[in-house]
């Protein structure tokens, strides 16, 4: 599973993307957030308040209950501020 980080999420995690292999019981976005938060102090800081995060699965916005699978591209970022 490819995980991407943008904006201050990327800065806190310390990398723009990484390949991860969460265990089978990590089945949705919310579970992935909890699992990723354990990986490093940077991850813990980035995922400290999930309400401030938004996610995309395979380049579509996704809610916390969105299912995830091994070959998915999952991204985490703050609310968007373009335009």
């Amino acid at each position: 599973m490819r995980v991407l980080y943008f904006a201050w999420v990327r800065q806190k995690v310390g990398v723009a993307e990484e390949e991860v292999a969460p265990p089978a019981e990590v089945r949705d976005v919310a579970a992935l957030v909890r699992w990723l938060a354990e990986r490093s102090p940077g991850h813990a800081a980035a995922f400290a308040d999930p309400r401030q995060l938004r996610a995309a699965v395979n380049q579509d916005f996704a809610t916390p209950d969105h299912p995830i699978a091994a070959n998915d591209e999952v991204a985490f970022f703050p609310p968007v501020t373009g335009g």
Partner: protein
């Protein structure tokens, strides 16, 4: 089918506008919105980050929604990324239609949805050397919600 570009380079708003009516006589009006980087509070530059791939996909989807809601003869969205200085353009939205209401409304719709549904993030850099990520604004959510759809 909208023209969607995400690029670092500046764009030529005049040429993009002209392209929407060139060689045809069914366009009655072209509405546009040009977003420009303001220099508030000693801003030195705005750095725009995006999610390559998803960005183009998200904008194309927003433009397709506009084309479904209004009878457009053309639609162009260009959004810059990278480092942008105060006074420089950031985003251009153009909508063309036989009638002005369709052009004006769809242009407002596109910029409102772009603000809340396209994966861009702005970081402000200040003359003092500090920087901060721009926070999403409740007004932008409210503006986007005016156009609420079943999928909103």
């Amino acid at each position: 089918m909208a023209k969607v570009l995400v690029q670092e380079a500046p764009f030529d708003a005049g040429a993009e506008t002209a392209a929407l009516s060139a060689g045809r006589a069914d366009v009655g009006g072209i509405a546009s919105f040009l977003g420009i980087c303001r220099g508030d509070d000693g801003l030195a530059a705005m750095v725009l980050e995006h999610y390559p791939g998803m960005t183009e996909r998200a904008i194309a989807r927003i433009a397709a929604e506009a084309e479904q809601r209004w009878p457009l003869t053309g639609c162009t969205v260009i959004h810059r990324v990278g480092r942008i200085l105060p006074g420089e353009p950031i985003v251009l939205v153009l909508t063309a239609s036989a009638h002005r209401a369709a052009a004006l409304e769809s242009c407002a719709f596109l910029i409102d949805w772009l603000k809340t549904r396209a994966p861009f993030w702005k970081r402000e850099e200040f003359a003092a050397g500090t920087h901060r990520w721009v926070e999403a604004r409740a007004e932008d959510d409210a503006a986007a919600a005016r156009w609420a759809a079943p999928d909103a």
